[in-house]
Symmetry: C2
Subunit: 432 residues, 2 copies
């Protein structure tokens, strides 16, 4: 049986998971793939700490060259993370004719173009299933399973930390800061949580999905990105009363040859499958012009789910190497007429608005008039009776409106004496 | 750009969908695959009826040899259905060195072994994504995306007709026969509905999933198969009161080196993602030992979803042909130590039982005693007050019990004077 040599860079959480899966399910992998995956080197700066995995002597090394230069290593698995040294190593590996598997979404979202080009130049493989949706084979679904489809839209719950926090806020009614602290203690959120809770991680993943769907690069500054920091339990509760859950979504929508890519909390109908995705689970809803609506669900992070995706990539590449069919699948196809990227100001959306109104006759009429002046129709209004000082909250659901007009209207409303500052605005999407 | 010749056998509903997708999204497919898919022949006995698709003259033919023998056709798409002529054509195509795409689950479930062997002997490709779950790329997920995993269980809503009928029965409270008639009029059920409603179609699909997951063939007589014919709205209603929905599931469960494959109505928790799958949609829940729980959802039948899956297979094969890497993926891997298939009598399950009891003191105690004598513990009992004659219904949920014991207990109960005949029994599964 043909042997394929594997070298792993980075022996952290995911690295250990990959090594364990290769060892534990090695025979199964040989049965299924017809090749023998041989772990030849595992490189980390720290090779002393006991990770609970028994490796043959000589496999551990502190020198990346033992992987990058080794003639008996065919596939390099990059699990270091970050965008500096990881990039150097990947470029080196590809330039040496090796294939690469990575879970590094930040790197690919920010420097994907260079890396993809290097892989194509050297006709090697670069696979990155684990970078989006953890163990869910959603990249494979998108670029292979749905290859027959123009993609109309993608909606993804792509960050387990945010979804965990939102689920807990809704279930327990606790404030964001409190739930975040709890999540940090339980290991569901990082000590430095910004990458997750400010939506950047979701944006990285949305960029990768958009790149695959539309055959073009998308840069971070083209993605409108809002996180969940400061989201109020009040809005979660009011949304629920209206039949919606608030989820942080990565949204990619194609319309008339242009695409918008954005990340923001979104009101989704409580009965939709996506609304049922709780805790650290991820899900991606893909609408294709032929297949219609499909959805992919599973654990979006963690040692084992990520390892499952990394090993699947290794096997895919090993199959190519065995048949001398490297670069069977380009890391990202180039589309002849890729769509433009459209800023959020140029799209239409429905909005949930929460305003703090002075409890005085005529206030709501004035608000409605201002919205009307900006061409915004109101679908429903709920005036709450819970006073905060001499103000009461009012919830307005708009009909489909130009986002630009909504922003202008909000700016005008916030200047009014009878309206409090900091109007809460959250996009509503029925996902159909 | 390299050209790959396609021949389609069968110009019915799905055939038209495939031809349309190849034409409409042809440029996109070339961008994504790097090859040009050229439709060379479409064969059907009826080439007169207008299908609303414009084809070049000479493409339509009534002679299958124009596809099977043609040197310029690389990929044969079999969309005739049935298990006789379709099998001959597929075997001929593979023997002539052509690759084959089929959506024919009945054929593969019943004669898969011969066909898979022929593909392997001739080192050609045989892909069949459309045979399970319509447009959902679940076969790809199972044999590629989850390749790193031993599969612990698969639960599938695999038949859109049954799921549509169950959804309507629950929503409208109408009886099975009435909903079936309606579904037939709306085109959601066949005039001869047995294949669907008696669970055979689900069994075919479960066999294919089990074969892929465990690397062994499974025959129809190894699959316990119950359909939804005769399911009562009463049980749907009582199940709902208990927090469950009734779904027709294909279930594949591995335990200790043996596997059971079965098809039957199942009570699933109302809050589980699988319980939310309504109407003609399908979904497959896969538990892997590394990845944990994943779920795949989409339209399980129909022209376009099926075409989406067929075209994905065509592209997969075309990529292999372009790199001379045919048979990169065997139609079904052979596992070194495949598990045994275990009959349903040998498994454990929880049961929902509905009994008709004579409304007389001591009846329930006698029933409980009989269950106890067979080693069956009761989780809960609900005695209904709705009299039918001098009887009342009682609902019993058992704890996990040997199915064999439950069957024996039911046989004994049905002999009792105070218990009506035809005790309703439905397996309950929490899907965790």
């Amino acid at each position: 049986m043909k042997e394929i040599g594997i070298g792993v860079l980075g022996f952290g959480t995911v690295g250990v998971g990959v090594v364990q899966a290769l060892i534990t399910n090695g025979d199964l992998l040989s049965d299924r793939s017809g090749v023998r995956l041989v772990l030849r080197k595992v490189v980390d700066l720290d090779i002393e700490t006991d990770r609970g995995v028994v490796l043959d002597p000589g496999i551990l090394s502190t020198d990346a060259a033992d992987v990058l230069q080794a003639p008996d290593i065919d596939i390099v698995v990059e699990l270091i993370g970050g965008t500096t040294i990881a990039k150097d190593f990947i470029i080196q590996a590809l330039s040496n004719g090796k294939s690469v598997v990575t879970a590094n979404k930040a790197l690919l979202a920010e420097c994907g173009e260079d890396i993809f080009k290097t892989a194509s130049e050297h006709q090697t493989d670069l696979f990155y299933e684990a970078s989006v949706g953890g163990g869910i084979p959603v990249i494979k679904a998108l670029r292979e399973g749905l290859v027959a489809n123009h993609i109309d839209s993608i909606y993804g719950i792509l960050n387990g930390t945010c979804n965990y926090i939102l689920t807990r806020m809704e279930r327990d009614g606790n404030a964001f800061d409190e739930v975040l602290k709890d999540a940090q203690e339980l290991g569901f959120a990082e000590a430095e949580p910004g990458l997750d809770i400010d939506g950047l991680d979701t944006a990285h993943k949305a960029i990768l999905l958009a790149s695959i769907a539309f055959g073009r690069t998308v840069s971070m500054d083209e993605v409108h990105t809002e996180g969940i920091r400061g989201l109020s339990t009040l809005d979660i509760r009011y949304a629920l009363e209206l039949g919606y859950r608030i989820k942080l979504l990565g949204i990619i929508k194609q319309d008339n040859g242009s695409v918008d890519v954005r990340v923001h909390p979104t009101l989704v109908p409580v009965n939709h499958m996506l609304a049922k995705v709780d805790g650290v689970y991820n899900a991606v809803l893909v609408n294709g012009d032929v297949v219609g609506q499909t959805l992919y669900y599973g654990r979006g992070a963690g040692r084992e789910p990520t390892a499952s995706a990394v090993v699947a990539d290794i096997v895919d590449i090993a199959r190519n190497i065995a048949l001398d069919a490297r670069h069977r699948l380009a890391p990202q196809h180039e589309q002849s007429n890729p769509p433009d990227i459209r800023p959020i100001q140029d799209i239409e959306a429905r909005y949930y608005l929460r305003l703090s109104l002075l409890d005085r006759p005529g206030t709501l009429a004035a608000v409605a008039r201002t919205l009307g002046d900006h061409g915004i129709s109101i679908a429903s209004v709920i005036q709450k009776t819970e006073h905060v000082g001499d103000s009461v909250p009012a919830i307005i659901l708009t009909r489909i409106s130009d986002v630009r007009n909504v922003m202008d209207a909000i700016a005008d409303l916030e200047k009014m004496d009878v309206v409090g500052p900091d109007i809460v605005r959250i996009i509503v999407d029925d996902l159909d």
